[in-house]
Amino acid sequence: MIRTFAAIDVGSFELELGIFEISNRNAIHSVDHVKHTIALGKDTYNEGRISYGLVEEMCEVLNDFVRIMKGYQITEYRAYATSAMREASNSQLVLEQIRVRTGIEVKIISNSEQRFISYKAIAAKDEEYQRILQRGTAIVDVGFGSMQASLFDKDALTSTQNLPLGVLRLREMVAKARISSEQEKTLVAELIDNELVTYRKMYLKEREVRSLIAIGEPVLTLFYRMGDGKKDQITQEEFRKFYQKLSSMTLDQKKDEFSVNGEYAAMLFPTATIYKRMMEITGAEILWVPGIRMVDGIAADYAEDKKLLKFNHNFSNDITAASRNMAKRYKCHMPHIQAVENAALLIFDSLKKYHGMKERERLILQIAADLHSCGKFVTLRDATDCAYNMIMATEIIGLSHLEREIVANVVKYHARNFRYNELKVEAQPYCDSRLANPENLTLLIAKLTAILRLANSMDRGHQNKLAGCKITLRDNQMIITTDYDGDVTLESLSIAEKSDFFEENFGIRPILKQKKRV
């Protein structure tokens, strides 16, 4: 059974449509692909909103996309918009116009979701991906609005950072300064260095990076001439030579050589500079350009959702590795973290029949447990408020914006009064079918908070006293039995303190019992 699927990317610089065939045998196969240059980002980055003229043009092109989709008798599609639309103040109006005039429902996705989607497309190139991951690797995704640098530790993606180094953004910045082309080059290099040096200091220490995976539209244009369109990897030395050649070219030469328009040609140099500097500061030897576009990612994401594609890569591992890494970074007491995580998962698993939550919620709980004390890095007094902000400011690839917000709220409320009516979630509940019950988020957060609270009190003394405890359920009671024969007064008190809230949520009261030695 072959499914045809259409992916639409409403990007900052281009509208793109990909038609894909998805089957078990062929995996994902691109059948048609068109793109139309329309610089939405120019409006957004300069004016803060998207002008009517561009909306008009966009609707026209999208209507043509609809025509092409009809040609392939497409019934399933996904259309995502990224930074230009995300940052435009009138995005809701624009999306409504598009919906009314073309029938296409465009969803705005968060940066981390966008990156995750592209990341899935890389992972879909399984063989090469696994090979590259054997050695230290970073994904460098340079787009028109920003760039994303993600670092791997062994085969798990542990940190990701968004830097304001989009090539369209850079070009717009430089275009404002009326300077010679030589000065322009220096200015671009300085702007880039400024960001990258900080990045290196904060994140790159002691990391060994041998290969860079380069994705995003700008690098594709660059690379098709660079690598003769045949091979998809080049060495640092080859890149250096290519860079020299590029910097000596005039705009017209670039237009000819890369067969692009002037607008595009002006972005080649910033693109190349970013990658060159990234290679230098990471010491990477190889640049792999797997030829991934946003639309490929949308297709991979869809295929996974519909269970048409199974990844060998475990994305949940990335998420837990990234949150552990974050906890370490903020000097959390790791044995305690481990103890809380174990306890939380133990409670979650024991109460399955009572709470009705699934795998995804379990993962969210696990991350909340890992991050529950990171706010203490900044301040010991209002640590949970801090933690909330820190989590909201740290992207975790693989976690949707909504999920991250749930984590942040669970962490926030685990050490303060839970007010059911106070809680508000910013994120649009989006097609995130992975949550068992996305409708009632307040209750979901309350349940997870109750578990985290209890788990945290179980290691109140940070001694891991209750290691290996067992949980049994009897007559609306949850009996936690431990072998530990020392003093557990602190833990008992603490558990008792949390038990009202716990009972409120699950109708079960937790009780700690010490097993007496015979």
Binding site: H33, G71, S259
Partner: protein, 711 residues
């Protein structure tokens, strides 16, 4: 080093394209003069020289005149300024026209007479009963559609339509002694030019031209006047117009407007009878504002294109080349549908030796096939009642997505194009009316079909237009394939034609105006590099015209490097062949035959692993820079051999081929002691034999074996 580079680009090493084009018309005229050719075929060739010359004036001469008016002084490829070119053209066309008419008068008319066809040149030669018949014919058929026009102080000089045949007269009032007045009448284009007279003597048929009949009866048109003198004349106007596409909101409207304007262009040629009254000529010259050098005094009937109608007269079959029936293609001579056959392997089509039906069939089958999702095609100069258009419309009605790029800028065909484009739109096709600033000249059809193992694309690529009528007269090649890489490219071509960005890379196709030029130059240079490295460099290129400076310079350079370059060029060739120190390794063959040579084929030796391409583009600046063109490879080894065979046979032709001499003239090959080879005839015979042998293979009486059908 600099000096040797110069010789490749020095204007004196190039031929002016208009001169070269006139040489081409001379070669056709040579066919009309060739006594070994059936008489009626010679009429046809003469007619072609005349219609060619008309188009030449309307397009080329007109645009040179425009350049002169605009004070544009840039020299051409051969270093000539527009006015210098016009002077040369004037001289050479006057010669050409005298040769046309001496051929007509001295050779063709007497021979026709011998064969029993009398053309009555002057109505005075009519016999009594014939004269009666002609007068009756005039009153019944001609008189009602004539619009006589007189000129006096109250009536201005009438508008004379481009390319129409007219009769001008000087008249004088019967009752007075007033001045001579000018009067004229258009010879109606709706009536046949040739009128056959009844009841001729046994074995003899007699005809007279319409204008003679009118001239004879012209007094009937101006009853109050005496006719002093009356003579036919014909004018040619500047027909080339440039479209301001950036401003044209709707290209279609603009062209319709321009079509009306076309009648009003400047007069660039006036043809009159040789013995015309000088007073009459003076009036025409003044009123039409035409210079002495643009007046052609003709010794015979104006506008020889009527000879094509004469060719069409019934009878005289013995004096015509027998009609050739295009043959079936063996790969398609089975019960399976065309998709199945293409899946078995690429299919090469060689028209008109082989039938054009499979191309029509592809679109027709696709229109009905439930699995076909979309059909996309470029259409340029399509015949009025094209079965392809009907099939496309049907496909759209069947719910297929049909995209058609209709090229409206094909010269002189606009009116025709607009009609069927509208028809297609009505049927629900997505019609794209050309691209701003570019003509779409490539010939490509894409059928997208959903099959069990996913989407498969069937592509037809050709060197000639999707025109089932011209496919019987033009020699063209086509390729049908479902190679996925060509399919991907084809999709990208149509996406680009719909206004989307180019694909990141092309798999197999090379497109003008962005990639083709550099690709061709690169391949010529590759042969030159091979030759310099002591290996064999070899290029064979067949096309209609060669006049691109960069390509020619690169060819000169390759020739000097030792590459053997064999060119087969039907028409214009701005390259000089066989010039020592410049092009001694280059030969140019030119074939003028019954079929119009039209295919473009390119062969590159490539150090023993030859590459063969076919395409829609000539090596002309307009094709390489101003048009969307496609060059495609023939990769199947067997098909490649067949294409190389086409080139080899053409090079071996020693009957119809002219060879370009170092001095720029064309000469036929000395046939003494040689086996005669006529390429077009050879291809006909081969196509017949191929189809026949395939039929034999399947005929039970030959094989005497029952073959079980495959499941």
């Amino acid at each position: 080093m600099a000096e040797t580079e110069n010789i490749y680009t020095d204007p004196k090493n190039y031929v002016n394209r208009e001169m070269s084009w006139l040489e081409f018309d001379y070669r056709i005229l040579n066919e009309a003069r060739d006594k070994s050719i059936p008489l009626f075929e010679r009429l046809k060739f003469l007619s072609i020289t005349a219609s060619n010359l008309d188009e030449f004036f309307m397009v080329r001469v007109a645009s040179l005149k425009d350049m002169v008016h605009a004070k544009y002084r840039k020299p051409d490829i051969a270093g000539l300024k527009p006015e210098e070119q016009l002077a040369l053209i004037g001289e050479k066309t006057h010669d050409l026209v005298s040769l046309q008419y001496s051929t007509y008068n001295r050779s063709l008319l007497p021979t026709l007479k011998q064969q029993g066809l009398w053309v009555i040149c002057e109505h005075e030669e009519l016999s009594g009963p014939e004269a009666d018949y002609v007068d009756r014919f005039f009153h019944e058929n001609v008189y009602p559609v004539l619009t006589p026009m007189a000129v006096d102080s109250s009536r201005p000089f009438p508008l004379i339509r481009n390319k129409t045949l007219n009769i001008a007269a000087l008249v004088q009032k019967k009752d007075g002694e007033e001045d001579l007045e000018f009067a004229m009448v258009q010879v109606p284009s709706g009536l046949p030019r040739i009128v056959e007279l009844p009841n001729g003597p046994e074995g003899e048929r007699r005809v007279i031209l319409l204008e003679e009949i009118i001239e004879r009866n012209i007094k009937e048109l101006f009853l109050n006047y005496n006719i002093v003198t009356a003579h036919p004349f014909r004018i040619m106007r500047n027909a080339d117009f440039s479209l301001d596409e950036e401003e044209a909101v709707d290209l279609l409207e603009e062209i319709q407007k321009q079509l009306k304007k076309r009648q009003w262009g400047e007069v660039i040629r006036l043809e009159v009878e040789e013995k015309v009254d000088k007073r009459l000529l003076k009036i025409l010259k003044k009123e039409l504002a035409v210079g002495a050098e643009d007046i052609y005094e003709i010794n015979g009937p104006l506008d020889l294109t009527f000879l094509m109608k004469m060719y069409g007269m019934t009878g005289f079959d013995a004096l015509k080349t027998p009609f050739y029936i295009p043959q079936q293609i063996p790969a398609l001579m089975n019960e399976d549908d065309i998709f199945t056959n293409i899946r078995r392997g690429d299919i090469l089509l060689h028209h008109p030796y082989q039938t054009f039906d499979p191309v029509v069939n592809l679109v027709r089958t696709a229109a009905k096939d439930p699995d076909v999702l979309a059909i996309k095609q470029t259409l340029y100069r399509v015949s009025g009642h094209s079965p392809i258009i009907a099939a496309l419309a049907e496909a759209a009605e069947n719910g297929k997505q049909v995209s058609v790029l209709v090229e409206l800028k094909a010269r002189f065909d606009e009116e025709n194009n607009i009609n069927w484009a509208k028809k297609l739109e009505k049927a629900g096709c997505h019609v794209i009316y050309g691209l701003v600033g570019l003509k779409t000249h490539c010939k490509i059809t894409l059928v997208v079909r959903r099959e069990e193992d996913g989407i498969r694309r069937y592509v037809h690529l050709g060197t000639g237009n999707y025109n089932d009528s011209t496919a019987k007269l033009y020699t063209d090649c086509g390729l049908m394939t479902c190679h996925p890489q060509i399919g991907e490219d084809a999709t990208a071509v149509f996406n680009m034609l719909s206004g989307y960005s180019e694909p990141p890379t092309w798999n197999k196709l090379a497109l003008a105006p962005l990639w083709l030029r550099s690709r061709c130059v690169k391949m010529i240079r590759r042969e030159a590099d091979l030759a310099r490295a002591g290996k064999q460099g070899h290029i064979i290129a067949k096309m209609n015209s060669l006049c691109d400076k960069e390509i020619i310079a690169t060819l000169y350079e390759a020739s000097c490097a030792g590459v053997k370059i064999e060119l087969i060029i039907r028409g214009i060739c701005c390259l000089k062949a066989g010039v020592p120190g410049l092009s001694e390794n280059i030969t140019v063959h030119s074939i003028v035959g019954n079929f119009l040579e039209h295919a473009r084929i390119f062969y590159f030796g490539n150090d023993g692993s030859p590459e063969v391409y076919m395409g829609s583009a000539d090596w002309m600046p307009r094709n390489l820079d101003k048009r969307v063109e496609i060059m495609f490879p023939v990769e199947d080894a067997q098909l490649r051999e067949q294409v190389v065979h086409i080139l080899e046979v053409q090079l071996a032709d020693n009957v119809k081929a002219h060879i370009l001499q170092p001095d720029g003239t064309y000469e036929k090959i000395d046939k003494r002691g040689k086996v005669l080879v006529t390429a077009q005839e050879t291809f006909c015979e081969e196509a017949i034999a191929l189809a026949a042998s395939h039929t034999e293979d399947q005929d039970i009486h030959n094989t005497r074996v029952f073959v079980p059908a495959e499941a």
